[in-house]
């Protein structure tokens, strides 16, 4: 450290002598002086809190004389009122039970009413019989540390506020992307559900159902690839484009073509945005309805028949909307008679992980699920899918939208 012992001209001995002198000077430093002028505050209190001994450093911080303190004040009297309550409700009980306590932040109130942030550590000294005798406390000046901590706290509060804000915004935005309630369709029961996977992120699933003219209704359900604000903007664009296009020309393929043109136009190669959509044109009939479906890359709709069978609608092969200048869309026509239910869903459902090996809940599992359910109704099917989604727990990390239509077995019982 100080003497090297390598000095060739005999200086090593001198150095050793100096070092020894310094050491003995240190030894002369009395324990009493060390106690009084240590770079931290010391105090000893009786079990009732009365101060029996206190060092000069601590008195200097407080601005009190020894006579003002010893035998007259309790430790809690040296604290701010808030600190006193904290001391009585947390510090003292814990110290009693544990025998020691460290790193607690408190504030001293000095003689001239200033506040001095400190870190306090206390130990209960016990007698030979284990009975507590007195409390020894060490006090460290924590002004710098406290201002640093305050910064940390402030930053954390700011971050929490930001997160809340973002979450509220995402939820509001999400809600604005979905119809508040679906309008009633005479003779048809309609129900829907939207599962939000993450409250922080706006997902890209969407659906709607709206009247066209006379006995005709438009309906759609889709999924914009990606998440976040960019996907939300596309979701919003897709939803109003589909509605407007259906009013202009309700042919399902024409509606999807229209959306494709808009997406191609709005989002160029730098930032291609696309989605899967299934669009339906519903026409009411005497005993139910027909639905002409067109799909652009969307999972096939399921028809749950009154006789308990389930049919996948063959719309596979329709291409994603927004990718190609002239995509191919695939159509199918479904006839719903009393007791039939049509189920549309997004792939959050079939991509959910169902076990530790990350196997997926796939099309086959969904088909089995639907077969067990059939015959059913829109509201019963939606309730069943909801509990299925809940059962996935953490395995479900994408948003999922579900829309169901059914023709009541007893036509008089159509709800909604």
């Amino acid at each position: 450290m100080c003497a090297t012992g390598q000095d060739p001209d005999g200086g090593a001995d001198d150095a050793r002598d100096d070092s020894a002198a310094a050491f003995s000077a240190l030894l002369e430093d009395s324990a009493e002086d060390l106690y009084e002028h240590a770079p931290c505050g010391y105090l000893s209190t009786l079990l009732d809190g009365r101060i029996a001994k206190i060092n000069t450093t601590m008195l200097g911080w407080l601005g009190y004389t020894r006579e003002q303190v010893v035998g007259r004040l309790r430790f809690a009297d040296l604290l701010t009122v808030g600190g006193k309550i904290y001391h009585e409700t947390h510090f003292a009980p814990l110290l009693r039970m544990q025998g020691e306590l460290g790193g607690v932040a408190l504030e001293l109130r000095t003689a001239d009413r200033r506040r001095l942030p400190v870190m306090v550590t206390s130990v209960v000294k016990t007698g030979a019989d284990g009975q507590p005798l007195l409390i020894r406390t060490t006090v460290f000046d924590a002004r710098d540390r406290r201002s640093y901590e305050r910064e940390l706290l402030r930053a954390r509060e700011e971050a929490e506020r930001e997160r809340d804000r973002a979450q509220r915004l995402a939820t509001t935005l999400q809600r604005s992307l979905l119809p508040p309630t679906l309008p009633p369709v005479p003779g048809v029961e309609v129900d829907s559900y939207y599962h939000i996977a993450s409250p922080e992120q706006v997902g890209g699933d969407f659906y709607d159902l709206f009247p066209l003219s006379g006995e005709r209704w438009g309906l759609f359900l889709g999924d914009v690839c990606g998440k976040g604000a960019g996907a939300a903007a596309v979701t919003s664009l897709a939803r109003y484009t589909l509605r407007a296009a259906a009013v202009y020309d309700s042919d399902p393929v024409a509606v999807l073509d229209n959306l494709n043109t808009v997406l191609n136009h709005e989002y160029h190669l730098d930032d291609p945005r696309f989605c899967t959509v299934i669009f339906g044109l519903l026409t009411q009939t005497d005993d139910g309805c027909t639905v002409q479906l067109a799909s652009g890359g969307h999972p096939p709709a399921l028809l749950l028949r009154a006789d308990g069978t389930v049919e996948q609608q063959h719309t596979t092969g329709g291409q994603l909307v927004g990718v190609l200048p002239d995509p191919r869309f695939v159509t199918a026509t479904v006839r719903l008679t009393p007791g039939d239910t049509l189920l549309l869903y997004t792939d959050g459902l079939t991509e959910a992980r169902v076990d530790a090996a990350r196997n997926r809940y796939d099309d086959e599992a969904l088909l089995d699920f639907a077969t067990a359910l059939a015959p059913t109704s829109a509201s019963v099917a939606i309730t069943a899918v909801r509990s299925l989604l809940t059962s996935f727990g953490d395995g479900l990390d994408d948003d999922t939208a579900v829309l169901a239509l059914s023709v009541p077995a007893d036509p008089g019982r159509a709800r909604r």
Binding site: I85, E88, H90
Partner: protein, 270 residues
């Protein structure tokens, strides 16, 4: 909620002779049922002792905590009644420490038939001074307390390290105890502190219709003697015992005297 739900929500622990008089010990703001550890064993020799943690404290079910329910003492009082309904032990002596004294008052005013008596340990119906009333604190003091709580969260988890409750033979409990004892989610602590220190239950005191014992300490920075006298004067027919003890937690600083006071009262309330 079903029986199991309520009892596990509040981490209810029952000890002592099955046919003994039932004594419910309810902890105050700051810690949890461990605060009774120096008096509970002695009481359990003669009485059926019921311990529990308020929701948000100790090992209660934190997921049951809701800000709207627990931002006033009524929510805690409702919990006490739910516990009593589930256990259905007949009239009990309810011992409430600190803020739990007023929680007991609220519960006993709502359903007096469930209470054989109340022991109010270092109670205060209002901590903040008011015209013609001295609670001992100003509104600014309460803000300062909230600040004190806040500044201790950073070092909190590490500082509360030492093993407590004498379980060296069960090291697996160490972490659990370290993390739960007297340690509260910052938000929950803030809400409980507000509910405690901004409450005003003075008007409820005259409505107490069960035998009541007020226990105060001779030196208590949180509930000074004039507050103890006020509570005693406001509750019809109540008794007042002043323990020669310092601090706000006589069950820790003077466990024998506290046990004695409770025991004498329970015997008399029978």
């Amino acid at each position: 909620m079903g029986a199991v739900d309520v009892l596990s929500r509040n981490c209810v622990v029952v000890d002592g002779p099955v046919d003994g008089p039932v004594v419910v010990l309810s902890h105050g703001f700051g810690c949890d049922q461990n605060l009774w550890r120096l008096v509970a064993p002695a009481l359990a020799e003669r009485f059926r002792v019921v311990l529990f943690d308020h929701v948000g404290a100790g090992r209660s079910d934190l997921s049951a905590w809701r800000e709207d329910r627990y931002s006033s003492l009524e929510g805690y009082a409702e919990d006490v009644l739910e516990i009593l309904r589930e256990l259905d032990p007949g009239p009990v002596v309810f011992v409430g420490h600190s803020v739990s004294a007023m929680i007991g008052v609220l519960a006993a005013v709502a359903e007096p038939e469930r209470f054989a008596g109340l022991v109010l340990l270092t109670p205060s119906p209002r901590y903040v001074d008011d015209e013609g009333y001295r609670g001992g604190f100003s509104a600014e003091d309460v803000d300062e307390l909230l600040e004190s709580l806040e500044s201790n969260y950073l070092g909190w988890s590490a500082a509360m390290g030492p093993v407590i409750m004498g379980t060296p033979d069960r090291p697996e409990l160490e972490e659990e105890l370290t993390n739960s004892f007297c340690r509260t989610d910052p938000k929950i602590a803030r809400v409980f502190a507000r509910a405690t220190f901004l409450s005003d239950n003075r008007a409820d005191l005259p409505k107490v219709a069960v035998p009541t014992l007020v226990v105060e300490c001779s030196q208590d920075a949180i509930a000074p003697r004039e507050v103890g006298a006020y509570v005693h004067a406001q509750i019809p027919g109540s008794e007042l015992v002043t323990l020669d003890a310092t601090g706000h937690c006589p069950q820790l600083s003077s466990p024998e005297a506290t046990t004695e006071a409770i025991t004498a009262f329970v015997a008399g309330a029978r």
